[in-house]
Symmetry: C2
Subunit: 193 residues, 2 copies
C-alpha cells in the first residue's frame, strides 16, 4: 500500500469517531455530543485558553494531543467519567485500540501518534496535564449550559464533581476551575438540598 | 466581563457549529456531517498529510486555521460547493459573522483569530493554500466512501469536480489529488455514460 493510501485509510477509519456518542449533550441539550465534534471543541478550547495553563505549555503539541486523544474510542467506546467501568480492563482495551488504529498509518507516523497518545494518557508532562484539564472543562460547561445536562441522570453530587473533575482541572488550569466553581455551586444550590 | 468569561462565552457560542449541517454525509452515509466534526476531521487530515503540501507549511498554523475556518457558518450557514449562492453576498454575510463571533473574545484574541480567518479566506499564503486544499479533499473522500454521497443529488459531473475541487487541491497538495483521481474516475466511469 502506498504511503498516501495508508494515510487515507486511517483518516477514513477515524471518521467513525463521529458516531461515538458521549455522556454529555450539546450546550442546547438537543442531542448527545459525539467524540468527533467534542475533539474539535476541546482543541478550540485549548487554543483560546492556553494562557491559563498552570505552567507554560507548547500549545501546538497540546492541540495535536487533543485532536487524537479520543480516536481509541472507535474500538473502545466512550466511558463517561460518572459511569461504571473497570479502569484496568478499559486500559487494556484502549491500548489494543491504539495499536490497531494508529497502526493503520505509515510506521513513522504510527509511532509518533502513539507516543503523543501515550503521553496524554500518562498525564505526566505539562502539555498532557493541561490537555487533560481542558478535556474535563468542556463537559462541565455543556452541562451548565444545558441546565444540568446529564448530571441528574448520573446522580452526580457537587462533591463528586469536585473530586472527579475539579481536582484534575485545578492540576492544569486552576484559574478556569475558579471561574467555573461559582457557576457550579449556584447550579447545585438551586437543584439539591 | 472578565477575560475568562469572555473566552467561555465565545466557546459556548462556538458549540452551535455542531448543529450546522453540511452538503456531505459521514463516510458510512448514515447522516449529514456537521461543521464541528468536519473541522476536527480536516485538522486531523492536515496533521497526517502535512508532508504532501506543495511548499513547506507551518502545520501548527494550518491546524489552527482549520479549527476556526468554519465558525462563521454559525451565522452564515454552510454553502455547499456544488450549490447555488451569490459569492459577493456570501462574502458580506461571512465577514459580518466573523466580526460578531470572533468579537466575543477579548480584543487581542479577536484580532488574532480574525487575522487567521482572513488569511484562510484570502488563500494567498502557503499555509492558507494548503489549508484550503485539505478542506476540499475530505468531502471527496466522504463521497467516495459513501458510494457517491451527495454527487448524484447535486448532479455533479467529473468535469465539475475537476474544476471546482481538483484545481484547488492541486494548487496546495497535487500528490493527494493524483491519489484521488483514479478513485474518482472509477466512480464516474461506473455511474455515468
Amino acid at each position: 500500500m502506498s504511503r498516501i493510501d495508508a494515510q487515507l485509510a486511517f483518516l477514513s477509519e477515524a471518521d467513525k469517531l463521529k458516531s461515538v456518542l458521549r455522556g454529555t449533550t450539546l450546550c442546547d441539550g438537543s442531542r448527545r455530543e459525539n467524540s468527533g465534534e467534542h475533539s474539535w471543541h476541546i482543541a478550540l478550547y485549548a487554543m483560546v485558553m492556553a494562557e491559563h495553563a498552570i505552567r507554560p505549555v507548547n500549545i501546538d503539541r497540546v492541540i495535536k494531543m487533543l485532536l487524537i486523544h479520543d480516536i481509541v474510542e472507535i474500538d473502545a467506546g466512550d466511558n463517561p467519567i460518572h459511569g461504571d467501568h473497570d479502569p484496568a480492563e478499559m486500559d487494556l482495551i484502549e491500548k489494543a485500540a491504539a495499536e490497531r488504529l494508529f497502526g493503520l498509518l505509515p510506521a513513522d507516523q504510527a509511532g509518533a501518534f502513539r507516543a503523543l497518545w501515550d503521553e496524554f494518557e500518562a498525564a505526566a508532562t505539562d502539555d498532557a496535564i493541561f490537555a487533560k484539564s481542558i478535556d474535563r472543562v468542556q463537559p462541565v460547561i455543556a452541562n451548565l449550559e444545558s441546565g444540568g445536562g446529564t448530571w441528574p441522570e448520573y446522580k452526580v453530587t457537587a462533591a463528586q464533581l469536585q473530586s472527579r473533575v475539579g481536582v484534575k482541572v485545578q492540576k492544569g488550569a486552576p484559574a478556569i476551575w475558579s471561574a467555573l466553581k461559582a457557576r457550579i455551586d449556584a447550579w447545585f444550590a438551586q437543584h439539591t438540598g
